[in-house]
Amino acid sequence: MADLTAGDQRTKVERPTSGFRLFVARYAERKLSVVALVVLIGVVLVAYVGPFFTPQDPFDLAQIDILDNMLPPGSESMTGMTYWLGTDDQGRDLVSAIVYGLRISLTVGVLSGFLAVIIGCVAGITAAYAGGWGERVIMRTVDLFLGFPSFLIALICLAVLGRGVDKVLFALVLSQWANFARVIRSVAVIEREKEYMSAAGGLMLPRHRIIFRHLLPNCLPPLIVVATVNVAFSITLEASLSFLGVGLPVTEPSLGLLIANGYEYIITGDYWLSVYPGIALVVTIGSINLVADRLRDILNPRNDQ
């Protein structure tokens, strides 16, 4: 985390081109990152537009034929449709199941990441802005959470609460908010001492204006990086928890649950049920990580010269 903030005292050199164009140009400098971004956009499209085009709706029992169960990839169904990635034990087309599962995984990951950012921001900025006693209490709590691996926090949370979408969201947010709070606070503490902040204070601007219009936008770059990495991490966490059977309920089959369903069949050599959802998961997480890596390179002020 230190590298996100350490070089921040340096004043930014204004470049002639507009900020956004420059950003795009710098992002495009590395080919792998562009590929990763294209893949990521593809993944998002598949997840949210794909369900309209899949051969089956895995939730609609009328469309599923139990006689087609456990067919290997490439088999034909009774009605002449091809199951490109095979079917599961209930005769569901794996392609459709993956597309729907991807939507659930992405939604849960992004939503929990977003909520954790908001809570972390509130806690971090309050700590930096309040200082003194309030700061100590908040940061102690943050340290307390950071002392335990996030997987453990989420697991304990779900062990107490039970399965469910809302509970998984809560567990993911609870296990990650402290990360954001720490990053935001460390950035905000540096920003708080800068001249523009005392200028804003000198103009007697209202506090909410100073925080939302002056402080927050300047804390944004490191936050974007941490948020992107954490979405990938949330997706992994949710998949692991659902795989273990303590995460999402069976009615919300995310990629992790699909892999878990296939787990009992791999001993008999029916590998596809676990392998293909896993590939979808790896592609998603990998592309997010690569995009985040490039964002970190660009947004890190140390590399800004």
Partner: protein
């Protein structure tokens, strides 16, 4: 040093108190503790006895005090499923988990540091870049899925290694472990490697970036100018300087490994604490869940304390009294 230790122990104690309060609140928030802590199949007499022992007929604050007292005495209820004290169940499983996590850490360190050094020293070579890309790919692979692939490849297709269980357990110097028998080691290879992958990727990246940063510093140039041999430069001058962050991360990674052991144990049916907790959650064996939470919190706080102490030994610049 002593002052630091005392202060840290006191802090840990406060954290434990807070945690016990949270867990207590959790157990009581879900529902009637009588249903939570007493098996539905218990006889009326057993019910009465447990209610008496846990003091469930007393006021809330008094119940919390009894809860604390029971924790201190190690009485954390009896498992519904196994019908044995929850705490014994967990402590019995701990050696298996520890052995798995320890082996994973050893693999990660002894592969990760040399690979990272190589990648850092030969950053522009094909091998160096492959190591770094490999570690990035490892980062993006969920542990549990890689575990499945390993089972498919090594256990089912190649039939080289067993897929589940701990194997034969040997005794050496009074310690019982799978590390001491051939069969035990064969059972250990796959789960330990699986668990090692994530920390391995982290250690590789950390060592590589530390190496390439340190190699460009002045004291490295003077070491070379003095005509020192390359091995001495790398293993004495370089390693000494990059080891501190690596050791810290290794310490912290050990707790992450312990946590993720839950996943690996479930895939490879390793009879450790992690598998126990997942089974208990699925069977709603709540006394075991409560006991597991308290025991793991205690373990993690001990690890954090150890890491801090170790850190101060390695880096004299860190003054513990100020922490």
């Amino acid at each position: 040093m002593t002052i630091f230790l005392i202060r840290r122990l006191m802090q840990s104690f406060v954290v434990l108190l807070i945690m016990s309060l949270v867990v207590f609140a959790g157990v009581y928030a879900i529902g009637n503790p009588v249903d939570v802590l007493i098996s539905p199949e218990a006889t009326e007499l057993q019910r009465e006895q447990t209610i008496q022992q846990l003091g469930l007929d007393r006021p809330m604050w008094e119940q919390y005090l009894i809860f604390l007292k029971n924790i201190a005495e190690g009485k954390l209820g009896t498992s519904f499923v196994h019908n044995r004290p929850a705490i014994t169940l967990i402590l019995e499983r701990f050696p298996a988990t520890f052995e798995l996590a320890f082996s994973a850490l050893v693999i990660a360190v002894f592969l990760g540091i040399p690979l990272g050094l190589w990648a850092g020293l030969r950053a522009d070579s094909f091998s160096g870049r492959s190591i770094i890309s490999g570690s990035i790919i490892l980062f993006s692979m969920p542990t549990f899925w890689v575990g499945l692939l390993m089972i498919i490849a090594f256990a089912i297709n190649l039939n080289w290694l067993p897929t589940s269980g701990r194997g034969e357990v040997g005794t050496f110097l009074g310690i019982r472990s799978s590390l001491f028998t051939i069969d035990g080691l064969r059972h250990l290879v796959l789960p330990a490697t699986n668990l090692a992958l994530y920390p391995l990727a982290l250690i590789i990246r950390l060592t590589a970036s530390g190496t390439s940063e340190t190699m460009s510093l002045d004291f490295m140039r003077s070491a070379r100018a003095k005509g020192l041999h390359a091995p001495r430069i790398v293993f004495v001058h370089l390693l000494k300087n990059i080891l501190i962050p690596i050791v810290t991360v290794i310490g912290l990674q050990f707790s992450v490994i312990l946590a993720f052991a839950v996943v690996t144990e479930s895939i490879f049916s390793w009879p450790g604490m992690g598998r126990l907790i997942i089974e208990s959650i699925n069977l709603l064996d709540r006394p075991v869940i409560v006991a597991y939470i308290l025991v793991t919190i205690l373990i993690f706080m001990l690890i954090n304390l150890l890491v801090d102490v170790l850190y101060s030994f390695l880096d004299p610049r860190v003054r513990l009294e100020k922490m």
